[in-house]
């Protein structure tokens, strides 16, 4: 039974590390869209603060 927990812990850590090295492409594209609409919008509107 102890073995299971060791395997689980390793799997959990492994999943985190594996995923962590991937660049979140879709989220980066969304961030780019948000920022570009902000900086290129007609003057007078505030720069957004929230990532979505």
């Amino acid at each position: 039974m102890k073995k299971i927990w060791v395997i689980l812990a390793v799997a959990l850590l492994g999943a985190c590390q594996t995923v962590d090295v991937f660049f979140p492409q879709e989220s980066a594209t969304k961030a780019a869209d948000r920022i570009i609409s902000d900086v290129w919008q007609p003057a007078g509107k505030p720069v957004s603060k929230e990532p979505k």
């Binding site: 959990l12 989220s27 869209d33 720069v47 990532p51």
Partner: protein
């Protein structure tokens, strides 16, 4: 049953780690945004006239200096250089905000086509076939 538990836990851990969003809500990012935004008002007429165009690598470039009055050329050159520096700093700040400074080139790559996508009709953008007017 055991297998199910493994899969469930793996799925949960995957979600916890994979659903990271790119963060850009730091003072460093905002400071650069404010500068780019302020400069845009000055650059806008030159995008419209075609004196300045959008490159495919996320930078801007002086593409028709002859159309700019002599007196304004130096200032426009400075504007373009400052804009390109700030865009690079924006990519670096976003990478730092995500604790992944090595992501800077990928962030630049993510931004490059989006600048072009957001360009207004009539602006000049670089394509595989050279300059085209949107």
């Amino acid at each position: 049953m055991k297998l199910f538990a493994y899969l469930l836990l793996l799925a949960l851990s995957f979600n916890a780690c994979a659903l990271e969003n790119i963060r850009f809500d730091t003072p460093g990012v905002r400071a650069v945004e404010v500068r780019i935004k302020a400069r845009h008002a000055e650059l806008l007429p030159y995008y419209v006239s075609g004196a300045v165009g959008l490159n495919m690598d996320g930078t801007i470039v002086l593409r028709d200096i002859a159309s700019v009055p002599l007196a304004a050329r130096r200032h426009l050159n400075d504007l373009v250089n400052a804009e390109n520096k700030d865009r690079e700093m924006l990519y670096a700040e976003i990478a730092n905000a995500n604790a992944h400074p090595e992501w800077q080139p990928q962030i630049r790559k993510a931004f490059a086509p989006r600048w072009i996508a957001h360009a207004q009709p009539g602006w000049w953008v670089m394509s595989d076939d050279g300059w085209v007017q949107k």
